[in-house]
Structures are given as structure tokens and as C-alpha cells.
């Protein structure tokens, strides 16, 4: 009763095709944006911004990237971490060669490099599917990791073997490097994530997004409707890897500040994959939910015993959160492949019909 479109009649196809056709959803999004862009920067502590919000948003963007490929185009990938690495190393090389060019431009440009790498490693998808494809993306993961370690040129032959983020400014304010404040870095990330999520939503609801879902659901029929598998699959790899690449560049430049190859290892890939599974395959909202859940849960579990004054060993809390996440992944894989986002939708449907549980509309 509280949440429904009653009385909100669409008078045009344009209104019906809008991203958020229901008014309550639009109000909700407005509130979220208000919190994200105004309340958090003004009110939240540096710890909350730097250790919760920034990583959450970086992972969200990576999850959007992987979800486009796996959830929307149906191509399983285990190489997300490596594709993020390509973006990060590309951004590092670009900004050391061209220190005067705006770092934000370089971040967006570095995604192109990982898109290109994504296309190359997407080529096998034209021949193989499912688990076998996942194995080839795993090969990509290990090969790229090897490159990050062995090719000194990528990290400018630093003794540490790590890429160290230099200071870069926007309008005379430091936005990267040690002196950039968490709030400033947060504002950069949240703007990019909001913008790129909108772009993803637009692409997904148009011709190209449909062609990905067609290939995912029934590739034979898709080909018969004139979709070329080559274009559809490789464009999905490119688009998805672009997002992962930008997420990787943001991760190093706006979050952790320096990174070695290990930062982009298989664990990182799996973490993002878990976010997509728990959040929901084929849902952009799910990317936010999954990233929030998996990033924040361990922090919360660590905080709870402290608040209760209990003395629990750090390793124990870590094990507890791993167990919870593991169980949830199994639960979602078996029971609800559309993840938290689907549960949220079911909840909304219940709200629509409440208090009349049996009316369907």
C-alpha cells in the first residue's frame, strides 16, 4: 500500500521506459544521492569515509564491471582482479609519462587499456562457454599477474616493485597522493561511480544491452535475430573490462595509494565475484548491495565484540565472517541466483500488495 504505482499512469512510452518509472523509487534515489554527496562528506569521520565508503565504491564499480560480463552477457570471468590491475598500471604509466594531464582524464583513459586486454582474453568466448571459459579467464589472471611482477617497466623499475601514487591536483586541490584528504578522494570516486552507473544503466536498457542479454539467455535465437555473437561477446568483454580497469585505477590512486601485483591477485577476483553473486546477477542495484555487504560485514563483525567489551582474537572474527560469507554464497547460488537485489524486489512487491497478501497487482 505504501509503495505502489497506483494513480501514476504512464501517458507515453518515454515515461514507461524511464529508468525509475515509480515515483517512490525516484524519491529514494534522490535521498541516497543527497546522503552520498552532501551528508557523508560533511558529517562522516575520516575513518568511515576512508575505510568504508571509498573501498565500498571502488568494489561497487568493479562489481558493475563483472556483472555486465557475467550477469548480463552470461560470460563467467575469474580475471576481474587482473583487469583491475591493467587499469591501475596503465594509469600509473600514463601519469608518469604525462604528469601535466589531469589525473581524472588518465583514470578514464586507463580503462581503455584494460578494455583492449579484455577483448583479447575474451576471444576464446567465441568458441567455448561456461566453466571452460572461466578457466581461460583464470589463465588471463595468472598471466597478467606474472606481467605485473616481471615487467619492471610497468612499475618504473621501483625497488619496492610497487606502483606509488604521485600527488596530482584538480583546481589546486590535491586529489591523489599522501596529502589528499579522504573527503576529497571520496568526492572524486562517488562522482565517477554515480556517472558510470548511469552510463551502464543506459547501455543495458538499449540495443546493445539487449544484445548481451540475448546472447546470455539463448545464443542460437540471438543469432537468428541478427545479433552477431562476435560483436556481442567482445563488446561485453570490452565494456566490462573498461569498468574493471577504471575501478583498479581508482583503487590504487584514490584508495590504497600504492600497490604491488598481489593487490590484483585471484583472491581479489573472487571477492568481486562473491559480491556479484550475493548482490545479484544481472542487477546494478545488486552490485551496490553485494559490495556493501561483503566489504562491511567483516568490519562490523570485528566491531561488535569490541563494543560489547569482549576480548576476541582477530583471527576468530575473520574466520566467522569468512564462514558467514561462504554460507551465504552457497545459499544464493542454490536458492536465489538473483541475490540480495531479488530479495529486495520481492520485499517491494510484498509492500505493494500489503496488507492484502493475495492480490497480485
Amino acid at each position: 500500500m505504501f509503495y505502489r504505482e497506483a494513480g501514476q499512469f504512464k501517458t507515453s512510452y518515454a515515461a514507461d521506459q524511464a529508468l525509475l518509472p515509480i515515483r517512490q523509487d525516484r524519491i529514494g534515489l534522490g535521498l541516497i544521492l543527497l546522503v552520498a554527496f552532501v551528508a557523508v562528506p560533511l558529517l562522516a569521520s575520516d575513518f568511515f569515509i576512508g575505510s568504508i565508503m571509498i573501498p565500498f565504491l571502488v568494489f561497487t564499480l568493479a562489481a558493475v564491471g563483472l556483472n555486465i560480463l557475467t550477469g548480463y552477457a552470461g560470460q563467467l570471468s575469474l580475471g576481474t582482479g587482473a583487469f583491475m590491475g591493467v587499469g591501475a598500471y596503465a594509469c600509473y604509466k600514463l601519469t608518469t609519462y604525462f604528469p601535466d594531464i589531469n589525473i581524472l582524464f588518465m583514470v578514464l583513459l586507463s580503462g581503455i587499456f584494460s578494455a583492449a586486454v579484455g577483448v583479447v582474453f575474451g576471444l576464446p568466448s567465441l568458441r567455448i562457454k561456461g566453466l571452460y571459459l572461466a578457466i581461460t579467464t583464470l589463465a588471463a589472471q595468472f598471466f597478467l599477474e606474472w606481467c605485473f611482477i616481471r615487467i619492471g617497466w610497468l612499475y618504473n623499475y621501483n625497488d619496492s616493485g610497487a606502483i606509488e601514487v604521485p600527488q596530482r591536483k584538480l583546481f589546486d586541490i590535491a586529489i591523489t597522493g599522501a596529502s589528499a584528504s579522504p573527503t576529497v578522494r571520496y568526492l572524486v570516486i562517488v562522482s565517477l561511480v554515480a556517472l558510470m552507473t548511469l552510463v551502464a544503466a543506459n547501455v543495458l536498457r538499449g540495443r546493445i544491452g539487449r544484445s548481451w542479454m540475448m546472447i546470455r539467455d539463448m545464443d542460437i535465437a540471438a543469432e537468428l535475430m541478427g545479433v552477431r555473437p562476435l560483436y556481442a561477446k567482445l563488446s561485453a568483454f570490452a565494456f566490462s573490462s573498461y569498468y574493471c580497469g577504471v575501478a583498479g585505477a581508482l583503487m590504487v590512486f584514490f584508495w590504497i595509494g600504492s600497490a604491488e601485483a598481489e593487490a590484483f591477485d585471484i583472491n581479489h577476483s573472487l571477492l568481486v565475484l562473491f559480491m556479484v553473486i550475493i548482490g545479484g546477477m544481472g542487477s546494478l542495484l545488486g552490485c551496490f548491495m553485494g559490495a556493501a555487504f561483503i566489504w562491511i560485514l567483516p568490519i562490523a563483525i570485528r566491531a561488535v565484540p569490541q563494543m560489547l567489551g569482549l576480548d576476541v582474537i582477530a583471527a576468530t572474527t575473520e574466520h566467522v565472517s569468512n564462514i558467514i560469507i561462504g554460507v551465504l554464497i552457497i545459499f544464493f547460488l542454490i536458492v536465489e541466483p538473483h541475490g540480495l537485489a531479488r530479495l529486495w524486489q520481492i520485499g517491494k512487491e510484498k509492500l505493494r500488495t500489503w496488507p492484502f497478501p493475495y492480490s497480485s497487482n
Binding site: R207, R210, G226
Partner: protein, 294 residues
């Protein structure tokens, strides 16, 4: 122009046991079409086509043609090679021998998406919808080839890209009206009952506005009422929009009422070709097909 075919659906015999009655009704229901419907242009012709899978000879030396504007039925017992023939026509299978002419030109070996672009659409024997998408999106997907706005327009989804989407949505809504499926417009097709799924699949093929529509057992597994609806859609599609249709169907009553000409296959070979009454009279057909219960 094709003259309107009239079908009173209660004439469908549904089974071949009722053969006498249905052939009598045939002369009553299609007297005009069999004599005066003249088709002058050949849309597709298949010459001496053979296809084998390893040792299995699916199609053997088959020739037949489809005229522009007609409803051409392909019948035959299970495993006769009907589906394989459709798969050849839309580029899934490549025959080892034979020639295919489409619109008067000999066709080169082509991929399914090329066949689609050349104006051939198709429904499948086992429903092949995009299960995760809504009815609306499934039918919109049939417009893929007609949408051209590039990636950058899609990114902003404003102006021309949005207009294109809306313009095609309008066309899709016409199809939804035509097929009377407005009530399931936003539902994911995976949850729809079988009969409606078949209907959505027809809608998706219609959205391509094909010159040649291949229907592989569009009424299999349907009850009488659903068959009546589907027959009506096929007839309207053919007579109102002039779409040429190749129809695989087991229900002889349906075939006799809808088809202008029938080609009969058995074990991959063509055993008869002609008007429904001619075909029905053929002893070979009776032996191979009509006598056998399906």
C-alpha cells in the same frame, strides 16, 4: 494479393481419425484459395539439397519452392527432416549438396545472422525465448537489426537514441495488441505458460518484419482454443501483412486449412508436393504419414 482465407476453426479435426469429415470441410472452406490464389513470384527455392550428420542422412536430395505470399506447409513424421530443412534455410546447417535461391539469387553459404538480415525469421520447435527478459524486451529484441544508433548514443540514451527506442516500442506495442498479450507485457517470459510463450515467440519473429517466416510446430502441445488463436494469428499475418510463411505442423486439420501448398517429407526424402487435397489423396503420403498416428 492473396484473397482472405476463411477458417472456421471448429472444422479442425485435430486427429486424422476424422479424416473424412475434414476433407469434406476443406472443400467447403477453401474453394476460392485453391483455385484462384495465384502466386507469381518465387521467394525461395531449394534445389537438390542434401544434408547428413556423420552417418545420419537427415535430408536427401530435396527440391521445392516457396512463392511470395503463400503459406507453405512442411509435414512428415517425426525425424523426417523438417526441422533440419528450416535450419538449412536460416543458415544453421550447411547442406553438403544443393543450391538455395532466395529472391531470385543464388545464396552463398551464410551464417544465421546474415539470413536474418536478408529477411528470414523463425520460431523454434522447443521454445527458444530469452528467459530472463520480459515479454516486451523479447519482442523488442526482434527489432535489433532495425536499430542503428551507435554506442555513444546508447551511453547517453537521450535524443536520437531515445527516440529510436520509443519508435520501435510503438511498433512492438502494435504486435502486442495484435497477439493480445498486453497483460503479460512486463512479465519475465520464463514464468509464462507454454501457450503464451509460443505466442511471444511468434511476436518476436514478427517484430523482425520478415519476408519469410519459418514456424516450427507453432501449435505443438497446445489445446484446441490455443490452436484456434494461433491459427488466426497466422492467417492474419499472412493475409493482412502479406508475410510468406513456411509452417511445420502435425495437426492435419490445421495444415489443410492454413496451407496453400504442402510438401511432405519422409525419412529425409520428399514424397509429395502439392495442394492440401492433392497431397492428401496421395497413396504414398497416406502410407507414410496420414495412416500413422502422431
Amino acid at each position: 494479393m492473396p484473397t482472405g482465407k476463411q477458417v472456421s476453426v471448429d472444422q479442425y479435426s485435430g486427429s486424422t481419425a476424422d479424416q473424412d469429415r475434414s476433407s469434406m470441410d476443406l472443400t467447403a472452406s477453401k474453394p476460392v484459395s485453391e483455385t484462384s490464389r495465384q502466386y507469381t513470384t518465387e521467394l525461395l527455392s531449394i534445389e537438390n539439397v542434401s544434408l547428413s550428420f556423420g552417418g545420419v542422412q537427415a535430408v536427401t536430395d530435396i527440391s521445392f519452392n516457396i512463392m511470395e505470399g503463400e503459406v507453405r506447409a512442411i509435414i512428415g513424421p517425426n525425424g523426417a527432416g523438417k526441422t533440419s530443412l528450416l535450419n538449412i534455410i536460416n543458415g544453421f546447417y550447411h547442406p553438403q549438396e544443393g543450391v538455395i535461391n532466395f529472391r531470385g539469387k543464388q545464396r552463398r553459404r551464410m551464417k544465421p545472422y546474415q539470413a536474418a538480415a536478408s529477411g528470414i525469421a523463425r520460431t523454434f520447435q522447443n521454445v527458444a525465448l530469452f528467459k530472463g527478459m520480459s515479454t516486451l524486451d523479447n519482442i523488442m529484441s526482434g527489432r535489433s537489426l532495425k536499430m542503428h544508433r551507435g554506442f555513444l548514443w546508447q551511453v547517453i540514451h537521450l535524443g536520437p537514441a531515445r527516440n529510436e527506442e520509443i519508435q520501435h516500442r510503438r511498433r512492438v506495442e502494435e504486435i502486442i495488441d495484435f497477439l493480445e498479450i498486453a497483460h503479460i507485457r512486463k512479465q519475465p517470459v520464463g514464468r509464462l505458460p507454454y501457450g503464451l510463450q509460443k505466442r511471444v515467440e511468434l511476436g518476436r519473429a514478427m517484430a523482425m518484419e520478415p519476408e519469410l517466416l519459418l514456424l516450427d510446430e507453432p501449435m505443438a502441445g497446445m489445446n484446441l482454443e490455443e490452436k484456434e488463436d494461433m491459427s488466426r494469428f497466422i492467417i492474419d499475418l499472412n493475409s493482412e501483412f502479406g508475410t510468406t510463411i513456411a509452417l511445420i505442423e502435425h495437426d492435419m486439420g490445421v495444415v489443410m486449412d492454413l496451407a496453400d501448398r504442402v510438401v511432405v517429407l519422409d525419412y529425409g526424402k520428399k514424397i509429395a508436393d502439392g495442394t492440401p487435397t492433392e497431397v492428401q489423396a496421395s497413396q504414398e503420403v497416406i502410407d507414410a504419414y496420414l495412416g500413422v498416428a502422431h
